[in-house]
Symmetry: C2
Subunit: 333 residues, 2 copies
């Protein structure tokens, strides 16, 4: 079968409908019953040997042309190889095509059904991904060696049952922390603020913890909350304000944020802290970013891989007017 391109689409006609759409879910049936294929679908049919040419091109010529994106082809092929039917996301072909490239149906289902398994956005390793544009789709990242990493994005609820309130404490502001020489037991042992200097006695608070507690009236320090906040800004710039917003929001939602430094993140978090003697595994790794952030897929792969390796969920706190939560996790379709 030799097909032709017209207006960026491949017109396959009515007789192709039964063979490619009805039996295998390729293409889109127009009013009137004629089958139209997206170029990536035609490339796949060419690659399989199911059609002979598109505008005289074989698969090698079609993939070398600008008509088909090679990364879209690799993802399309990979999902087909995994046993899925899928439809290119075009206006009129699928619901809400904005921001995605393919709609993937559950195995055994197709474009004639009403269920969707994944909404897939194809990304080359060197592309960028605006944080605002993800949260309800799967990223299919094609790396420079054409291997595909699937990353599911979501907008999770982040909440817990830890009580942030503590009895009053007093501390000294040092260069980049506050040292409480004689703190109430609850500060560290129940509410998990700070770190002990030794097995008992003095507790060191981070500048974030100290600002939060001083604002709350639970910590007395020379110069008050403003002095600690100012110090935070001096040593960290505007990043400090962003992290403070995320820190405070987490605490107010009953989640305890502790440093995520060893994991290269801003925080690791514990949802249900009653006592440090009974501390479970921390559940989330949180990286704080401006809401306008644009991801480099490689940074995303790094964070997600690390979180997976330590059995935590990777969550991004996108700070703009308030905080939006974005989780990203590896997915095997």
């Amino acid at each position: 079968m030799d097909l032709t391109l017209s207006g960026g689409l491949v017109r396959a006609g009515e007789r192709a409908r039964e063979r490619f759409y009805d039996s295998s879910g390729y293409g889109h049936v127009e009013n009137g019953g004629a089958l139209t294929l997206a170029p990536v679908e035609a490339a796949h049919l060419l690659y399989r040997g199911d059609i002979d040419s598109v505008d005289g091109m074989d698969v090698r010529a079609l993939l070398s042309s600008a008509v088909v994106s090679e990364v879209a082809f690799f993802v399309y092929k990979d999902l087909r190889d995994r046993g899925f039917y899928l439809t290119p996301a075009r206006e009129g072909w699928v619901d809400d095509p904005e921001g995605i490239d393919f709609v993937v149906y559950p195995r055994g289902k197709g474009p004639w059904d009403d269920t969707v398994e994944y909404r897939v956005r194809v990304v080359g390793e060197r592309d960028t991904v605006p944080a605002r544009e993800v949260g309800d789709c799967v990223l299919a990242v094609v790396d420079e060696e054409s291997e595909i990493t699937y990353l599911a994005t979501d907008r999770p609820a982040v909440e817990g049952t830890s009580d942030p309130s503590v009895p009053a404490a007093e501390g000294d502001l040092l260069a980049e922390r506050v040292l409480c020489w004689d703190p109430p037991t609850e500060l560290y042992e129940r509410a998990f603020y700070g770190q002990r200097l030794d097995d008992e006695g003095a507790v060191q608070l981070s500048l974030l913890e100290a600002t939060y507690l001083a604002r709350d009236g639970s910590l007395t320090v020379d110069g008050g909350a403003e002095a600690v906040l100012e110090r935070g800004r001096e040593v960290e710039g505007e990043r400090f304000d962003r992290r403070l917003t995320a820190y405070s929001t987490l605490r107010e939602r009953g989640v305890v944020p502790k440093t995520g430094f060893k994991f290269g993140a801003d925080f690791r978090t514990y949802a249900d802290v009653d006592s440090i003697d009974d501390l479970g595994h921390s559940e989330l790794l949180v990286r704080v970013l401006p809401a306008t952030h644009t991801f480099d897929p490689r940074d995303l792969a790094l964070d997600v891989r690390l979180a997976h390796g330590v059995r935590k969920r990777m969550v991004f706190a996108l700070v703009g007017d308030g905080v939006e939560w974005l989780s990203v996790a590896r997915l095997t379709p």
Copy 2:
């Protein structure tokens, strides 16, 4: 005992020598036998209650003053708690004090011995670390909650036994890769260039692999090596040249670099490839950086933690005039 500060040092006199130096390795004995303490050592003695004041200050006042760096104190204390004697790195006190803060002796040894276990550089989480200044020291990174992560830095030899040469192939330059439709078997199966499109047949090469092979005369492609190199620069900028230098150097040393995307790195490497049927575990994760790079400790913690989790060694390829290799690994002193 009440001691006084003079010229930034604490003069403890001759009678303190036996008690603090001979028995516990604190301080430096001057010609004439008087003991001098660095402020961080005096702070530790104050904290332990072994002396009563320094210039009238107790430990709380001394740590709040600018005389002692809190992060240096935390690291000093931690190493003492771990059973080490150590000496502040000052000219005349230790050999080569440049770029480090403490010289740590093997357990059971002290400043009166000739052996050194670690040369330690203290780094706050918010400090930066020039890549050129490390390679023979241990970084003691103090995070915002005052936990300490020790990172050993080294300049490893990177070499292997994999033969980079292959029979001639021909390929099509697509947007960001080269597709060889009918490659010699050795290309992928022996020398591990590229990735198969399916179980057999076509092999996709990354732009790095294709540039290397085209320069070598092993790959024919429209426009030659220059066309592939130009494409690499178009899509990646000067980073492409840096990565190509690292890629070529690894290949020439008998090491096979493959994409490290899934680990958020530039490459994972295999030192001894004879056949892909007999491929071992990749040994290194390589991140390519300009030789002038300055590390953010948190990025370093992320890379090192990830590499550790997947049982690989984290190596940085510092590209300037040639390539220098820097490895960084977690250390428990």
